[in-house]
């Protein structure tokens, strides 16, 4: 037998370069600022484009001047008549602002859900917000609109909102009862079950009321047409609260990236923090879904596109998803208005048609996800 002489244990030297830690905070902050400015420019550009394009109203190039003219302390002769300004302000702008709010909300909620469940395939509808809203809306639409015609509040929005929140609450309770305390996967599976159940109920209702299928489908496909300032005022408070809470949890979302156990040993109250983030994301999602229907793809893809462009840190990902998501949906809506004008292409179709190829292009060029 050959005995191998054991080598003496080497002293504790590690043959790695000894350098001062790089990543100076100045460079990092400059980079973050550049991206935030780019996102802001994209959103402002989208607002201007959205306000400038439409079948009637003033020439497009005059609209930015008119918008400037209406800012405080600025006076410009834009050449836009009062009637044309009414078209811009009362018809186009509510739609643009609502589109911005919906896109921003869905993107921020999508990014947050992806973070909190550490799952790149997650969208804001994961735990049943969309399925619940769809079921609620279907319930009202199938009970006969004539019954609710005189009501001061549109019950479709109200019930959709309530059902969206209720469905997510059921999912959370079911997931928690299966021991989802430290395991987001159980919650995701509970979501799959609850969404299937809600969708089955909705299908059953539809099958019994074929006369409203078209109306329900129009609602499901999502739309921004006919948006009013009242819609904006309805969703803005929920979106604001939701976005503020999620922005405040950006750092926590980064901690979630190391897994629930390690996050807990780093001092994060995993269960409580996840609940707060999910609740905030759900509140905003339910509000925008109840007003604009189920606009798909935005919440899934915008965070990924931002990740591929600017990196995966949630500190930057959340605000950039807000800016790029808002701008993206405004532009998608413009495309939906123009593609088959005067008919409108459903915005959910547009978001997929524009977003999917761009996403594939990014995946091919960057080769990371």
């Amino acid at each position: 037998m050959t005995a191998v002489e054991p080598k003496p244990i080497a002293p504790g030297r590690i043959d790695a370069p000894v350098m001062s830690a790089s990543a100076p905070p100045g460079v990092r902050r400059r980079r973050e600022r550049t991206w935030l400015l780019a996102g802001l420019a994209f959103l402002v550009g989208a607002v201007i484009v959205g306000a400038s394009i439409g079948p009637a109203g003033p020439p497009g190039w005059r609209v930015p001047l008119a918008l400037l003219d209406h800012l405080p302390l600025i006076s410009i002769d834009s050449g836009v008549s009062a009637a044309d300004w009414n078209i811009v302000w009362k018809i186009r702008m509510p739609r643009v602002v609502l589109g911005g709010l919906v896109g921003a909300m869905l993107s921020v909620a999508g990014a947050s859900y992806q973070g909190v469940f550490r799952n790149p395939l997650v969208d804001p509808y994961l735990l049943g917000a969309a399925a619940g809203a769809g079921l609620g809306a279907t319930l009202i639409l199938t009970t006969g609109r004539d019954v609710t015609a005189g009501w001061p509040v549109d019950p479709v929005q109200l019930v959709a909102f309530g059902f969206a929140l209720g469905t997510v609450a059921i999912t959370y309770s079911v997931g928690a009862s299966f021991g989802a305390k430290r395991n987001g996967a159980t919650l995701v599976l509970a979501g799959v079950a609850v969404v299937s159940f809600a969708t089955a109920l909705q299908t059953f209702l539809l099958q019994r009321n074929l006369d409203v299928v078209r109306e329900v489908f129009q609602w499901i496909l999502g739309r921004l047409s006919g948006a009013t300032w009242s819609d904006v005022v309805t969703v803005a408070p929920y979106v604001s609260v939701s976005v503020v809470v999620l922005m405040l949890h950006r750092r926590h979302l980064d901690v979630f990236r190391v897994g629930d156990d390690e996050a807990a040993t780093l001092g994060l109250s995993v269960q409580r923090t996840r609940l707060v983030i999910v609740a905030a994301a759900t509140l905003g999602t339910a509000a925008v879904v109840s007003v604009s229907g189920l606009i798909g793809f935005v919440g899934l893809v915008v965070p990924h596109v931002v990740r591929l462009m600017a990196g995966a840190s949630y500190r930057l990902l959340i605000p950039l998803s807000l800016l790029f998501g808002g701008g993206f949906l405004i532009l998608a809506d413009v495309a939906g208005r123009q593609l088959m004008s005067p008919a409108e292409t459903p915005i959910g179709v547009v978001t997929a048609v524009i977003g999917a190829p761009f996403f594939i292009y990014l995946l091919r060029t960057r080769r990371v996800i």
């Binding site: 054991p6 244990i9 080497a10 002293p11 504790g12 030297r13 590690i14 790695a16 370069p17 000894v18 350098m19 001062s20 830690a21 790089s22 990543a23 905070p25 405040l248 750092r251 980064d254 901690v255 990236r257 190391v258 897994g259 156990d261 390690e262 807990a264 040993t265 780093l266 001092g267 994060l268 109250s269 995993v270 990740r307 990196g311 995966a312 840190s313 990371v368």
Partner: protein
């Protein structure tokens, strides 16, 4: 006074006993190595100390009783390195190590200049300076392990709990990582509690070994006292010879062919 007092720690998963009541006093700067076969209760004990599993009994670090404490104040006392840490490939080293500052940052707060200084200092000490901007996914196993250790050290906790810290590393990187822990505890009086599979390495680096089997402590003491061929044969169901290097007293466990008697 002991740096860490474990007072009748017991872990059960449902009705199954994973760790029978276990008490221990560990001195400041001491390295206690837990050894034992799979399912012996090593990881359960470490997770109980880190607050990851429900356990009865008390963990006291210095004068701080950890039972019932929220994760944040617990994380200021105990830093934990998992057996297979989940390392986000698309996170850079600086941001990853910065996560270690989580227990020192307020709930809605953001890191201070001091937090960044601590992170830079730890990165330099672990010779990761050239890697601060590198994505974790592009680094080798040994470099990633150093990043994980750096994250744990950034917590500035007096107790470092390591669950199989070198199981994914080759022998060279195993030795480097363990030397690093030795250096750190010598310089900073960090108390180390680790589970280790390699008995020779455990005996070489830990001040004291605790041999666990089926949730019970079988032996506790120095490597020479704990690592005997008979005892290892009984507990691990393995055939080994145990040699002691006369030059430095290091205990060397060598597996042999054949079934244990």
């Amino acid at each position: 006074m002991s740096a860490v007092v474990l007072d009748r720690i017991e872990v059960r998963y449902g009705n199954e006993l994973a760790l029978a009541p276990y008490s221990e006093h560990i001195e400041s700067g001491e390295w206690v190595g837990l050894i034992g076969p799979n399912g012996a209760g090593k990881s359960s004990l470490l997770k109980a100390i880190a607050g990851l599993v429900r356990a009865t009994g008390s963990v006291i670090v210095g004068e701080v009783v950890l039972d019932g404490r929220d994760p944040r104040s617990r994380a200021r006392q105990v830093a934990y390195v998992a057996q297979e840490p989940l390392i986000p490939d698309d996170m850079n080293v600086f941001d990853y190590v910065l996560l270690g500052r989580t227990p020192h940052i307020g709930y809605f707060g953001s890191e201070s200049a001091h937090d960044r200084d601590v992170v830079r200092d730890v990165i330099d000490r672990l010779r990761l300076g050239g890697f601060a901007d590198r994505m974790l996914g592009s680094m080798s196993g040994g470099e990633r392990q150093r990043a994980v250790l750096a994250r744990a050290l950034a917590q500035e906790a007096p107790v470092l709990v390591l669950d199989e810290p070198t199981s994914a590393l080759d022998i060279g990187h195993q030795q480097q990582a363990l030397e690093l822990v030795t250096e750190l505890r010598e310089h900073q009086a960090i108390t180390v509690i680790s589970a280790m599979h390699d008995l020779t390495l455990a005996g070489t680096y830990a001040d004291r070994l605790v041999l666990l089997d089926q949730g019970d402590v079988v032996a506790s003491g120095s490597a020479v006292e704990v690592l005997t061929a008979e005892r290892l044969g009984e507990v691990f169901h393995v055939c080994v010879t145990v040699d002691v290097d006369p030059s430095d007293g290091a205990v060397i466990v060598v597996p042999r062919r054949g079934f244990p008697v």
